[in-house]
Symmetry: D2
Subunit: 338 residues, 4 copies
């Protein structure tokens, strides 16, 4: 009954075993390891993007901050959702790395809409040199509210940005869960939908700590490498990042892990609804159910672990996250305790 | 015969096994894991510093850049050796994190001297507001030239800095090797010698990727935590950093690994000298031998791997680094091939 | 009929004459001029703040950005109104100088309220290390909407900030106009109301280009000096800044100029209202009247110069700014043309 | 006998009168004033550069820091002389604005040589991603040692930089003095000699406070504008900068003022040499004579004002700067007092 976050889970057996295997003998450092070449090839294939540049870092914040710094100038505005991870949960890392300014775009359930984005775009940079300029778009999928953008929704948003020549970033800390939820292919969710650079999450979905940054157009690859090094994000024993990512991508493990997490999320959602609990739209592995007062105490007494969220007057709200390691027993015990 | 760098070695068995064990079950993320509390306690004990604040990051560059940013204001000068890692090998990460300026202090064999440091100190910040101000001292031990400062030498340098109220940092990417080489205790090499903040290396000496930052005076601990997060250096599945460091510190493993690396370094030095090769002063695990032209080709043909270094006219020079995993056979084969 | 901005006016005769007089002979550079000592003494007296540190820069953006950088750490949030000059009109200068993040506080007519500020304060920094921390409060008086905070209103806002140990900044680009509008003394509007650092505007109110920064507690004075130099904001021929500020403060010139500007603003407001034009609350020298479609064209045809503002459907809105050099004829001609 | 610096002089009568005239009536702010268009046209003509972009700021540090930030990425090395103003006298402003790192190039009498520059270029950026990359070249003319580069010398240095595709900056705080000393045309000293961006000084040579930045290739003009605003360096009452620069350029005033300063410098040098004083090579308006102990005291007792400089054992050294306002009487009295 551990639903606090998918990052409280450990690593999947296939991943940790790959790390173990990678420990044999000597290997070139700083990304020149043989496994990294294989990782690049695999990601290019998975994304149908034979030219893409691929880099590994160890935290999602690093992946996002470096992506933004590479694509947005210091005087640029990064358009992101009011509750985006980059806005609320990275202690200003994107601003530190890029110098840019985040412009918050509202929208229900963690998703901006073409309307709210257009309004934000239209009201930025119109004052000439006096204000920051339109810089880039950053979307998140799965969103912080647990909802999922379809490729068509992403394309509708990136179209507005691209009409103004803005590059588009996707924070995919839970990218695999979004794919599973929508049935989209990696390409459909990214470059085919107008995404230029992707933070491709591994950590939350069964790795120890690895995220890939995928630059679909490699023209900024060298700049990215320098920014990564300068950010203290280049690993000397890089083989241990490569090994995780290689195992993650092998035989569709990454999608299988996400499918498991999502299935548990849906089992939980179905069970909650069956008990009359309000569960806002959520098709991946993160739920924000609302229920009557007193249930938090009851669940925690039964051993459930999760975050209490701000709720409307007279209600309680929870954040429940399932992961690759969540079991049916976990879900069913939780529902029983409720 | 792999002497390119100690970071081309893998992880010691005890470390990788600890990572494996740490993978069990759920664990709190972002440094709130139980193992991290144990790591802090162990480091405090090892350093005889019951108040010290301890944080883990995954790269040496991150450890150094965050340490410097925490102790030096943007208008400060960081006094470091001309060939310090922070000056030559971190692509400006210390400047990026801190905004500060590096002032290069010369000295033979990678070591600044009280004379060269005093000269640099005396000629900085004398122009009032027009120039950067004296900010902090950063030493490296083992140095980039493979030489080692004794605690007394460190104390002589920090005394000059402290006389001007400057904090002192030690880049200890090879701290264990320096301890083994000098026989000093951790406390003698650090706070007893005037060091305020230490980058305590684990990666090069048998870990997968972990460095501790030790703040002997914890008053800047919260600032450090914020800078770490903001730098994208806070791991969600932090347990995997803690596990490495805990194993590293258990039963003196860290010193045993360094003793092995140093012993192989000394075996190599002795063997080289016996063959008439010039080996500048080096008491740890990194050698810069000089020999006649043609030997590089011969050694590489025999399978030796290491860095060729700039050499005086008509000579060749190598950088040879031993590690915890170097064997006597490696050393002896190398000497035979020579 | 030039109402575009108070910065389209020239300098008052007393100011320009002082610059002329300051041109005699040699004078020490970089702020060591004799006039600067007099300026400091005058500002201390005017503000009843004998300990205050006083510095001159040439632009309001520099004054604000340096003030914020001196009082807010890079991981801090600066609470300011949604439409504050620092948020909308400085192209990210405060973020560039400080690294901090602006958190926008809403409120009608350019003014935040204790409610909106408290809400912003309460929802910031609660996520521990994951989000930026509460950093400082920045108010603007006269506001960008032309409204004026009373000292009591300022005190109510700073009290909320100070309860959390946050320093408070006042952007006083039109400080003199705010004083005239409220009848408050300089001390009442600043340190007695909880302000720690003031951008004290001169440029808009009859100078050529000079703003003072007043640090009521001088403990950060040296840091400010270094930041000013490092920002390229320290004038070599500083005497020309001092001369402006000295003349500005002599014989109450600054208040007389603001009184003139405000009187013309009020004459305009009264005249507009008499003609049935809606003029939102404005007691200083900046008005945002709303009128029927077609009036913009008519006024501009008559030679009026001002900014057209976004207006509700079927309406027109203007920004009209009076200055020390606005004449009664200007105002009356404008009203006649309407 | 005021030889401390050319910035202790006031403004030339033509300049201050132009400021006075510019004070008439209303004028558009933030660089949209009519005089600025004329200034741009004049500079383009003077430099035979019909495409150049021209911007005004008020301090030399701002001009340099903005120029460097516009042309050098954060991971770039700026090659400059060990004693360049940007290295020693701007409190890190270039690094603050650009994020870049200064690499110091030695050379006698304030001048780098093709040899010393080539050595610095060759030893930078060779370590791949681990070190900063070659970024740009920044020269100073007149140098900080009072010496002057000829156009041919500049071309020899920029050729080395341009061979590696590096842009070249010229810090021309005393540009007019360098032209007068060499007889070169503005074009010969800049773009014809490989310079991409020039800090064109006005302040030291008779203005109140104005420097132009000239971008010979205007492709980075908009970026420069944003950086200027973001740096708090865009003047609202910009007319007062334009007026200075316009007068400065009218009827060759700028060259006449520099000719006067240089002539006084040469009169001083000749007189000193006639008295047996050692005066290192200096053909503009700044001298560093060396003389016997005791002379400092004697000169200061006689009322001379200048900087004492570090000198070899048993010697004294002075920095003497003449300006447009230095008179023959000043020089002759000084020589007499000696």
């Amino acid at each position: 009954m551990r639903f606090a976050s998918d990052n409280t889970s450990g690593a999947a057996p296939e991943i940790i075993n790959a790390v173990l295997r990678a420990n044999e003998g000597y290997e070139r450092s700083y990304g020149a390891d043989a496994a990294m070449a294989r990782v690049t090839a695999m990601i290019r294939e998975v994304f149908e993007a034979p030219e893409a540049a691929v880099y590994l870092v160890a935290t999602g914040t690093a992946a996002n901050a470096l992506s933004i710094a590479t694509y947005c100038p210091p005087w640029g505005a990064v358009f992101c959702h009011t509750h985006a991870h980059i806005a609320e949960d990275e202690c200003g890392a994107p601003e530190f790395y890029s110098g840019a300014k985040l412009v918050l775009v509202p929208g229900a359930l963690g998703k901006m809409t073409p309307d709210t984005l257009e309004k934000a775009l239209a009201s930025t940079g119109e004052g000439g040199v006096h204000g920051v300029q339109r810089g880039m778009l950053s979307l998140t999928n799965v969103t912080e509210a647990g909802t999922v953008y379809t490729p068509a929704e992403i394309a509708a948003l990136t179209a507005l940005a691209r009409a103004r020549d803005l590059p588009c970033h996707l924070d995919g800390a839970r990218f695999a869960n979004a794919l599973v939820a929508t049935g989209a292919t990696p390409a459909e969710m990214t470059w085919k939908a107008g995404i230029d650079v992707l933070s491709f999450g591994g950590t939350k979905n069964g790795c120890l700590g690895v995220e890939a940054v995928v630059l679909f157009d490699p023209s900024k690859a060298w700049e990215f490498e320098l920014r990564r090094k300068r950010g203290g994000q280049l690993f000397s024993k890089h083989r241990f990042l490569s090994a995780q990512m290689e195992a993650y991508l092998t035989d569709g493990l990454w999608l299988n892990l996400a499918a498991r997490a999502n299935a548990m999320g849906q089992r939980l959602a179905t069970g909650l609804k069956a008990k009359g609990v309000t569960v806002p739209d959520s098709s991946a592995n993160m739920l924000f159910p609302e229920w009557s007062p007193g249930i938090h105490d009851r669940l925690e007494a039964a051993g459930a672990v999760y975050y209490r969220m701000p709720a409307p007057q007279g209600r309680e709200r929870a954040r429940l996250v399932t992961s690759w390691s969540t079991t049916e027993t976990d879900v069913d015990s939780f529902l029983a305790a409720l």
